[in-house]
Point group: C2
DNA sequence: CTCATTACTTACATTTATGTTAGTACTATA
DNA sequence: TATAGTACTAACATAAATGTAAGTAATGAG
């Protein structure tokens, strides 16, 4: 939950409104969003259970939270199939797909510049 | 301060080690780092006081904290001039400069895709 | 009736990020 | 002596992000 007013929030809002970089990072940042976006980018469309199994260390609560945020930000769409047991598929929206070059560059830069493990 | 062990930290370490995107975002993410990096990128070298005056809403403590983290991560260098009053200049290292295309792409994407204010 | 499957939700707890306020050492200048 | 400028630091406080454990509704299979 977020407070309705706090210096913290005011700063966030103001920076996101004035700095494109901060805005983009706010959309894709956080512990798990990069991984989620990467999976959706590479798989096209993923059922919730499959996405979850591909990320063994995230808790269900957090996964759902992140998916909801991505959905609210317009990057991911959620499609419910009226079946039993339920089936819900997530995929990138058009806006989300537009992130592809950004995600690839971030990934490449990290792989190229991360200190090696030896 | 960070705990020496927690699921939270373990997840962070593990993701950063396996996902280039997460690693990059960890370096440049957070409330103020994008702005700091942007200033240094455009100004070349900045004295602490000038940097601070260009960011009226950040508290000194946080600014110093972010600068220290950027320095520890090798993106920013800190040069002390033995004068009185003290003078300290910050600038991007070679590694930091390598981020330029990443930062520009993030900035351009945000400016292009941020919902307009009307 | 019992159990399994799916996509969640709820209540709670901990960890991390960010912010506030005051203070420091040094020296030049008035 | 008092004041101002610089680049910080310390103690404290709050907000936000992340994690844990358990529970739910619907239905088909056995």
């Amino acid at each position: 939950m977020r407070k309705e007013s706090s210096t913290n929030l005011e700063n966030e809002v103001q920076i996101n409104a004035s700095c494109g970089m901060a805005y983009t990072l706010d959309l894709i940042g956080g512990r798990w969003k990069p991984t989620i976006l990467w999976r959706l980018l590479n798989c096209g469309s993923l059922r919730y259970s499959k996405l979850r199994k591909s990320m063994p260390n995230i808790s269900e609560r957090i996964l759902i939270l992140q998916l909801r945020e991505l959905e609210n930000d317009g990057l991911v769409s959620r499609m419910i199939f009226p079946e039993v047991p339920p089936r819900v598929e997530y995929k990138l929206t058009e806006l989300g797909l537009r992130l592809e070059p950004v995600l690839r560059l971030l990934s490449d830069w990290g792989d190229a510049n991360r200190p090696t493990g030896d």
